[in-house]
């Protein structure tokens, strides 16, 4: 038996590395392509000018004002959308679990609905709504946060729902209520700390999605990072590719961090309970 298992493990290792190498090449090639493209100097030399400009914030803002506006808008949108999503969703899902279990299915359906509505379709419907948004709040790119909250709803909901399913919300809240806690305390000081990693993962997913969003911003004529990159591609291809690569790496770093956070939580539950 042991021999069979060892042989199987070896076979799986061979398959694993074959598949990983083959697909790894396919996936790394465009990244390499971007790196090579942005470091290509005149006459086949290596040049780091583009990257030097990219890390020099002040000069970047002067040289490419549109790109700078896009970057600022996207980071503002990330903050606002994370905030709005969490403020809207976290209390609601906890509340529904505790007090309105009958609504659980409804909330789930509503939250997953944006998966069946492509962003391009949502834009068609959002155009008149945004005419009002512009009327009340102005035409700032930051107003896109409402549309983005809708777009991240399915992902954020799934993360939060998984987090809540992993703990016994009812027992926790009944215990807290038994000790005289109000609903506010139950949510803020009892349930929320227990689903911290789920909240974090919802936040990280939101960050990745907002940084990469193009469809809604472009069709509602608001400039965010991706719209700026796309515009820049027409005039300065090298810079737009460099920003694309930087944004990709940033998102990768964020998601890698997320996987570390998720792991850290699993190791410590006994410590937290004692």
């Amino acid at each position: 038996m042991a021999g069979v298992i060892r042989r199987r493990a070896r076979r799986q290792r061979v398959l694993r590395w074959t598949v990983l190498t083959g697909l790894g090449l396919f996936f790394l090639l465009p990244m390499l392509g971007m790196l090579e493209f942005t470091t290509r100097g005149a006459g086949g030399t290596l040049s780091l000018d583009t990257w030097r400009l990219l890390v020099d914030w002040r000069r970047l803002g002067d040289t490419y004002p549109d790109l700078w506006d896009g970057i600022v808008a996207s980071f503002g949108l990330v903050g606002l959308t994370v905030l709005l999503t969490l403020v809207l969703l976290v209390p609601t899902v906890i509340w529904v679990r505790l007090r309105l279990p009958a609504l659980h299915r409804v909330v789930e359906f509503v939250c997953l609905l944006p998966l069946t509505i492509p962003a391009i379709v949502l834009v068609v419907g959002l155009a008149p709504v945004y005419a009002w948004v512009t009327y009340f709040l102005g035409g700032s790119p930051l107003t896109l946060t409402f549309a983005y909250t809708v777009l991240v709803l399915p992902y954020a909901y799934r993360a939060l729902d998984a987090g809540l399913s992993a703990i016994d919300v009812r027992t926790l809240s009944e215990a807290a209520r038994g000790l005289g806690a109000g609903w506010g305390t139950v949510m803020w000081r009892v349930v929320l700390p227990n689903i911290r990693s789920a909240v974090l993962s919802a936040a990280f997913l939101t960050v990745a999605l907002v940084l990469g969003e193009f469809t809604v911003a472009s069709l509602l004529s608001r400039v965010n990072l991706q719209v700026a990159i796309n515009l820049l591609g027409k005039s300065s291809a090298t810079m737009s590719v460099a920003v694309s690569l930087a944004a990709l790496l940033l998102a990768f770093a964020l998601l890698f961090l997320l996987s570390l956070v998720g792991r850290g939580r699993h190791r410590t539950p006994t410590k937290e309970l004692s």
């Binding site: 038996m1 465009p30 392509g33 971007m34 068609v124 709504v129 139950v186 990745a208 890698f256």
Partner: protein, 308 residues
């Protein structure tokens, strides 16, 4: 919002005491409902109204009356062709993505859980699947564009001109290639949990009954994973079908696929009598995705029976 029902709410359930029957449960329910008002108000404005705008707009004529002309116009050959190309592109890349992504998931699932390899690949998949769009289009232009890295390498060193029969990168074949690039990672994200649900005990049971590897996959693993695999493939289809940014950044001429047709209906000068044609196309897209996602939910439920 939670403080609305406390402490002024004397009938909120105290620990261990079920609410007494007959003590205005309607009132309690009503107060509890207040807690979800902000969420549903937001949904109403930014999800329900846009959906209604599309649905109602699709059957509204330019002067505001009811009409089926917009929906009839969906039968126009240029729209039908755009939808057909969209469906073909989505189905093709979903199939390739599902097979390659399935393989990659299997390769990952045999690695140690929580190990560096799995974490790195998962994070990379998360980025590539979600990030998509313009960035990927530029990545491929830098790699396979006319002055791209691979193009120049092949042309200068090996004498192969990949564009001898036309620049295909900015057309459907190019779209298929770039779509595959985000379909494979999405497959990994969706399919990996299903593979994780396969218990080693099942393999051991098959082994101890004398089953071979082939028999295990054909009679145990295969049937267990088929619903999850098909479900994931459907999700990939919906994902490619809904994608817009990649195509918008990559395709330079014309509007070969449905999302680009919607864009041109939205942005170009409206032809008289066709003001709402974009909404009709949008409705058509929603219907396709809704059917696919409905099937996905069914398959997911079936998969969860064993792998949940």
């Amino acid at each position: 919002m939670s403080s609305l029902t406390h402490p002024a709410d004397p009938v909120a359930d105290a620990p261990g005491i079920r609410p007494r029957p007959g003590r205005t449960p309607m009132l309690r329910r009503g107060r509890s409902l207040l807690g979800v008002v902000p969420f549903f108000a937001f949904i109403a404005v930014f999800l329900a109204i846009p959906t209604l705008v599309v649905v109602v707009g699709a059957v509204t004529s330019d002067d505001g009356g009811f009409t089926l002309d917009n929906l009839m116009a969906l039968a126009d050959s240029y729209i039908v062709n755009a939808f057909l190309r969209s469906i073909l592109l989505s189905a093709g890349t979903a199939l390739i993505g599902a097979v390659l992504g399935g393989l990659l998931s299997y390769a990952l699932v045999t690695a140690r859980e929580g190990g560096l390899l799995r974490r790195t690949v998962s994070a990379a998949c998360g980025v590539l699947a979600q990030f998509g769009g313009v960035t990927l289009a530029f990545a491929f232009i830098a790699t396979l564009g006319l002055s791209g890295f691979v193009t120049e390498f092949l042309r200068d060193r090996l004498g192969i001109d990949i564009y001898s029969s036309g620049v295909w990168l900015f057309d459907l074949p190019g779209l298929a290639l770039v779509y595959t690039y985000f379909q494979v990672p999405l497959m990994v994200i969706v399919f990996l949990p299903a593979l994780d649900g396969i218990r080693p005990q099942w393999r051991e049971a098959s082994d101890s009954l004398g089953g071979s590897t082939w028999q295990y996959w054909r009679m145990v693993g295969g049937p267990l994973l088929t619903p999850a695999f098909l479900g994931a493939a459907l999700l990939l289809f919906a994902n490619a079908f809904s994608a817009y940014a990649t195509a918008a950044a990559l395709v330079s001429q014309g509007s070969p696929i449905a999302p680009l047709q919607i864009r041109s209906a939205l942005t170009s000068e409206v032809v008289l009598g066709q003001q709402n044609i974009g909404k009709a196309m949008a409705l058509g897209m929603v219907l396709v995705v809704a059917v696919v996602m409905g099937l996905y939910t069914l398959l997911q439920r079936r998969a969860a029976r064993w792998l949940g």
